[in-house]
């Protein structure tokens, strides 16, 4: 580098020397690139088979939210597959909230435990990812090592490498896609609200039949973020874009008041007259099943026909997307920096990104979570796996799916801000 600089900037006369030098430089640069690539190739493939060799025959502790029996069953299926293929024992550590895993890794880091972490894999996105990244709790730059990652076509799909807009920097691998879906009991209401505005009128006609959970529950903040985006639709672009940047006092003052106004009008007509908000979003589904609620929402649209099949939701349940937009995101899997079985974890993630696993996951009867693989990267045979199987319950068809615009997630800092301010305003009963 210094030689090149000297070559280019020095004023001493260099007759034919500089031609030889430049040629040598070009040759050496090419050589470097070539060996580099070879190195990359050899290190790449050597690395992957290294990983395979080191990763087989181990235990992997996958910390993932365990509130949905369907997802748990899918993970059990994955466990069987990786046991067969790699003799890996997958242990699903069921979390009530992903923050539990975050605090665990944080505690381990504080205790100086840098190699024997109990968390090998964590299902994560959004602000939990932001928290872990900030505290440097995640293994960096491993996703590109996975052969199956290229199937997601990351170069053409920026969503695969951005989590709530924050670059993932190879610290987490995409797993599935989700969008906020509403569902209702068609016996209790024939015309569910199609927009946020209609919602505030609908609750007045059906008092006590709708509610949302208590922040910081994920579903709660998602509903509030959806409301925030939609209610600020009339604002100029410059202000709206502040949502996709870290929240500041100024942007909060510009964007939040309309949300609080909306909620203040909404709460008296909610379930329990807004005096009690359940701690977990899972309860919404149970309350619809009990008949207490007529309208609810979820991120996992396929859980509704599955719940109907399990008798947990009434036969008359139907799902739809709001016409003014559905909050959409990609959810990821990350490996903590101190994972005790990092190589096995990588093998597992690679399997999760395989067409086989993604197709199975997308089946409504299994989980219904949308695949992250790009169709263009799959063979025709693999593409066929993703075709929907026999039609199940009417609620499996999501009305408005085609016309509902996808709303991207705001910056992760907004979740925290909304949750904190909500708790200040409504968190403690007066």
């Amino acid at each position: 580098m210094r030689f090149a600089k000297w070559m280019l900037f020095s004023k001493t006369p260099k007759p034919k020397v500089h031609i030889i030098a430049i040629t040598a430089l070009i040759i050496s640069v090419c050589a470097c690139l070539w060996t580099g690539e070879a190195d990359a190739k050899t290190t790449g493939s050597a690395t992957w088979s290294d990983i395979e060799a080191r990763g087989i025959n181990q235990d992997v502790y996958f910390h993932a939210w365990g509130g949905d029996p369907q997802i748990n069953r899918y993970i059990q299926w994955v466990a069987k597959q990786v046991k067969q293929q790699y003799q890996i024992n997958l242990h699903h550590v069921k979390l009530t909230d992903t923050s539990e895993a975050v605090s665990r890794v944080l505690a381990e880091k504080s205790a100086g435990n840098n190699t024997q972490g109990q968390v090998d894999l964590v299902w994560i996105n959004g602000e939990n990812f932001a928290a872990m990244a900030k505290h440097q709790l995640l293994a960096p730059n491993w996703v590109a090592q996975l052969p199956n990652f290229s199937l997601t076509d990351p170069d053409n799909n920026p969503a695969m490498t951005r989590d709530f807009g924050v670059p993932t920097q190879g610290m987490e691998a995409p797993w599935g896609k989700a969008a906020l879906t509403f569902y209702y009991d068609s016996l209790a209401t024939q015309s569910p609200p199609q927009t946020l505005q209609q919602l505030s009128e609908w609750v007045k006609q059906h008092p006590g039949r709708f509610t949302y959970p208590k922040p910081p529950d994920f579903l709660a903040t998602s509903f509030l973020k959806y409301a925030l985006i939609v209610l600020n639709n009339a604002q100029p672009e410059a202000i709206k874009n502040r949502l996709y940047q870290p929240a500041t006092a100024q942007s909060q003052a510009l964007l939040l008041p309309v949300l609080w106004q909306y909620l203040d009008e909404l709460h008296p007509y909610l379930w329990r007259k807004g005096r009690h908000f359940m701690s977990s979003g899972m309860e919404l589904r149970r309350l619809i099943g009990d008949g207490e609620l007529a309208l609810a929402f979820t991120f996992s649209a396929a859980e509704i026909p599955a719940a109907v099949a399990r008798f947990e939701l009434p036969d008359s349940s139907r799902s739809y997307r709001m016409q003014d937009g559905s909050l959409s995101n990609v959810h990821f899997i990350a490996i903590p920096y101190n994972a005790a079985h990092a190589n096995s974890a990588k093998l597992l993630v690679n399997f999760l990104l395989s067409p086989q696993a993604q197709a199975k996951k997308q089946q409504p009867s299994v989980w219904g979570d949308i695949s992250v693989l790009a169709t263009s990267k799959l063979t025709a045979e693999q593409q066929a796996w993703f075709n929907p199987s026999a039609q199940s319950h009417p609620s499996a068809t999501i009305a408005n799916q085609a016309i509902s615009p996808a709303l991207s997630e705001p910056d992760p800092s907004w979740s925290k801000v909304i949750a904190k301010l909500w708790l200040q305003r409504y968190g403690v009963m007066q």
Binding site: D68, K94, T96, S103, M278, M282, E303, E312, D315
Partner: protein, 574 residues
């Protein structure tokens, strides 16, 4: 002398110390592990200077007063109600065979874990629960579930209901246990008869003659009940409000928060919790004193009847109501666990399906195995330590000192939320990676007192002359222990086993914290599912929580008989 005999005496000699160490060190260590952070000392967060920051954060928490009031109120009222109903039942049925029936009916309720009881009560009083369905639509006119606030009401009435129904059998059975002691029980019953012959109606006779002598024996159980209720986590978590919750639940949430700096506030909260518990106990002690003062003059004023007949009728109603509530709750759970679609006002589900049991049982494999293994290990350790310590008492000739007896119940008297987090921190420092061992140790803390309580009286009452005769026949102490004392105590040992298993099955916080989320038992799963998406699966788990200890007791009843029969047969043949 065989190796066993040679090792026996030294092992017995050190057993009491091992037991005390296993009880006291974790609790004390845990308390220190909580007190230090409370005053700002958390090296993990680079804070090593003592400060009162945590406490000031605590005072500034919105709703802290309400949290404290809720904890105090629910524990005091529920214990008071449980005590009141207990003595009303004793007074009304003292001379009637109904006391025995009630004892047998309520006995099983005792071993139902708090979490299962909370789930059952929650399902009963919820707007779409059994009570609501039974009166709709013919009485109430409801075609959709009403919008009332039970459970999760702000005043904690649901919590009070859950706690009262769970603590009442315990107090009642404690009292009946005292009355079953041959000397004291017979004396009290005879004195009651004397009072009757002097013209006192049975209820007044009970209150004026039996209760004053019975109450001192009930004091410790009542205080233990109240201490537990003030710091309980499962019941307020499942039945209580969340805006704000009780102090214990809030502390748990702060400890679990991603934001580690909340740990300081949580530790300060744990200190506050200890103070709250002491406050509630002091209130009870004060109330006791006041009632004693007030009642002293009433004892000998000669009045024979204070409306005893009415009180008896009221007690009949209360007892019937209680049995109905418990019965309905159980029936509701059974129906939910087998229910297909169950539209609101219908009293019975439209279909009966086995699906939920099948699904749950498939999911339950690992938690079930873990539950049983942990319980067996903890109980085995507890029984061994208890037996060896009791044996040491007899070797040395002097019984456990007063301090020793109190120390045994230490884990029960100090709110578990106060020291468990410290214990977890302690185990993290020691870098103990064996989660299973950690969980067994934590369970041991709670199983040991109950096992000791259960075995101590039977062991101590064993006629010493058997050992003396055996010794004179040349038997070593070890031989006497294994060949004479243990077989004679087989019944009580098995009951203590069943009790220990039941206690271990019902542990929630110890498993959750020391297991670090890696070990799931039926109870932790049940609590996680209690406010989740599936009422039906939740019902299955709650029922499973009830079946396990019931099985334990069934075995405890059957096995000794079988073993004794086997031994006798072998002896007859050999």
């Amino acid at each position: 002398m065989s190796t066993v005999a040679r090792l026996f005496n030294p092992i017995v000699r050190i057993s009491p110390f091992i037991m005390m160490a296993l009880l006291v060190m974790p609790v004390m260590g845990g308390l220190i592990g909580v007190m230090l952070p409370a005053f700002g000392w958390i090296p993990a967060l680079d804070q090593t200077s003592l400060s009162l920051n945590g406490f000031s954060q605590l005072w500034q928490t919105p709703g802290i007063g309400h949290m404290a009031l809720l904890s105090i109120g629910t524990s005091f009222v529920s214990t008071f109600l449980a005590f009141l109903i207990t003595i009303l039942i004793l007074a009304s049925y003292f001379t009637s065979p109904w006391l025995g029936y009630i004892q047998r009916l309520l006995g099983p309720i005792l071993v139902i874990p708090h979490a299962a009881a909370a789930i059952a009560i929650g399902f009963l009083i919820t707007p779409s629960g059994m009570i609501s369905r039974l009166v709709s639509p013919w009485l109430s006119g409801w075609n959709a579930p009403p919008d009332w606030l039970y459970p999760h009401d702000a005043m904690g009435l649901s919590i009070i209901l859950g706690l009262t129904l769970k603590e009442l059998p315990f107090l009642l059975l404690m009292a009946l246990g005292v009355l079953a002691q041959p000397d004291l029980g017979q004396t009290l019953r005879a004195q009651h008869k004397v009072a009757l012959s002097l013209g006192y109606c049975p209820i007044t006779a009970f209150f004026k003659v039996v209760l004053p002598s019975l109450y001192p024996h009930l004091r410790l159980p009542i205080l233990a009940v109240m201490a537990y209720a003030s710091a309980s986590v499962e019941i307020p978590l499942i039945l209580g409000p969340n805006n704000p919750p009780t102090l214990a639940v809030a502390i748990m949430q702060w400890f679990h928060d991603v934001d580690l700096s909340l740990r300081i506030k949580a530790s300060a909260g744990a200190i506050l919790q200890i103070q709250l518990t002491l406050f509630v106990l002091a209130c009870w002690w004060l109330l006791e004193g006041l009632v004693c003062q007030f009642a002293k003059s009433m004892l000998t004023n000669g009045r024979r009847d204070y409306g005893g007949a009415i009180i008896q009728k009221i007690t009949h109603v209360i007892t019937a109501l209680m049995m109905t509530i418990i019965g309905l709750a159980l029936v509701g759970m059974l129906l939910w666990s087998f229910a297909g679609f169950w539209h609101f006002p219908d009293t019975l589900p439209q279909q009966v399906v086995m699906l939920h049991w099948q699904t749950a049982l498939q999911q339950m494999h690992t938690p079930l195995i873990d539950t049983v293994l942990i319980a067996l290990c903890a109980t085995a350790l507890a029984i061994s330590l208890t037996l060896l310590t009791l044996e040491a008492e007899q070797h040395s000739g002097k019984s456990l000192s007063l301090l020793g007896s109190v120390l045994i119940y230490l884990p029960l008297l100090i709110p578990s939320i106060a020291f468990l987090f410290g214990l977890v921190w302690l185990l993290e420092q020691v870098n103990s990676q064996h989660t299973f061992t950690n969980v067994v140790l934590a369970h041991l803390l709670f199983v040991l007192p109950y096992v000791f309580l259960s075995l101590a009286s039977s062991y101590r009452r064993l006629d010493p002359r058997f050992s003396i005769v055996a010794a004179s026949l040349g038997a070593t102490k070890a031989k006497i222990f294994f060949r004479i004392k243990l077989p004679m105590l087989i019944g009580p040992i098995f009951i203590a086993c069943a009790l220990g298993l039941a206690i271990s099955f019902s542990q929630y916080l110890p498993t959750l914290l020391t297991g670090g989320g890696r070990i799931n038992t039926i109870t932790t799963e049940a609590v996680a599912l209690a406010n989740g998406g599936s009422r039906r699966i939740s019902a299955v788990y709650a029922l499973m929580q009830m079946i396990l200890p019931a099985l334990g007791f069934l075995l405890a009843w059957l096995l000794p008989k079988m073993i004794t029969k086997m031994l006798i047969k072998r002896h007859q043949q050999g």
